[in-house]
């Protein structure tokens, strides 16, 4: 499965890129499983995803909880808690 990943704020800075298109292995059941896999890709990915309580995930532009089923998303965004307004 091919997914478009986008990163924001310090997640973007730690990973070192604003986004990437990745082939994701089959068998990842939840969002947490996906993050566990993503964290193995580089030291930057590992650093960005180390504290799961400090990051938020949106799947196809909707917030999801870590235990949400992964499904077949087109775009996954990873970022810190928002600070707009």
């Amino acid at each position: 499965m091919t997914i478009e990943f986008v990163y924001f704020a310090w997640v973007r800075e730690r990973i070192g890129i604003g986004g990437e298109t990745l082939d994701v292995p089959a068998g990842l059941a939840t969002v947490t499983d996906l993050l566990d896999w993503l964290a193995t890709r580089s030291p930057g990915h590992a650093a960005a995803l180390a504290d799961r309580g400090a990051i938020r995930v949106a799947v196809d532009q909707d917030f999801v909880m870590p235990d949400a089923p992964l499904g077949t998303p087109a775009e996954i965004a990873i970022f810190p808690p928002v600070t707009g307004g």
Binding site: A9, Q61, F63, A77, P80, T83, G84, G85
Partner: protein, 153 residues
């Protein structure tokens, strides 16, 4: 309807409210909120990043929710991104209704939402130092007022 947009340019609060009320005589109340950059602790600028696809989608959803919750007659949400200097306006929420209660409530609701759910991130610039702003628990508590069981409304 409540129009929502994100832009780098400054906005004109008077023009936004005039657009809501112009030529109408059914509007009795207009509430606006304008957020400005504070020069706290030597801050020299605020850098605002956002996630355009999600911002647009989520702003439309929250605008529709406010429209359903209160008897509103019009509204406007404008959020800026990019580098903003102390004193500059960041965000505008303007709400029109027949009566003041609905206008105040919807404006507060939308601001609480923008603070806690809209995908914007602020970075504080102090000279050559940059610091990502952390989310505030008080903002989460304010937003929780509007959800069932989330405290008083």
């Amino acid at each position: 309807m409540i129009a929502a947009r994100v832009q780098a340019a400054a906005f004109d609060m008077a023009a936004e409210t005039a657009r809501l009320t112009g030529g109408r005589s059914d509007i009795g109340a207009v509430v606006t909120f304008t957020g400005h950059v504070r020069a706290d602790d030597g801050l020299t600028a605020l850098l605002i990043e956002h996630y355009p696809a999600m911002t647009q989608r989520q702003m439309m959803a929250i605008a529709a929710e406010a429209w359903g919750r209160w008897p509103l007659l019009g509204g406007s949400i404008v959020h800026r991104h990019g580098r903003l200097l102390p004193g500059e306006a960041i965000v505008l929420v303007a709400i029109a209704s027949a009566h003041r209660g609905a206008a105040f409530a919807a404006a507060e609701f939308l601001m609480d939402w923008l603070k806690t759910r809209a995908p914007f991130w602020k970075q504080e610039e102090r000279g050559d130092r940059l610091h990502w702003v952390a989310a505030k628990a008080t903002d989460d508590a304010a937003a929780a007022r509007w959800t069932a069981g989330g405290g008083t409304t």
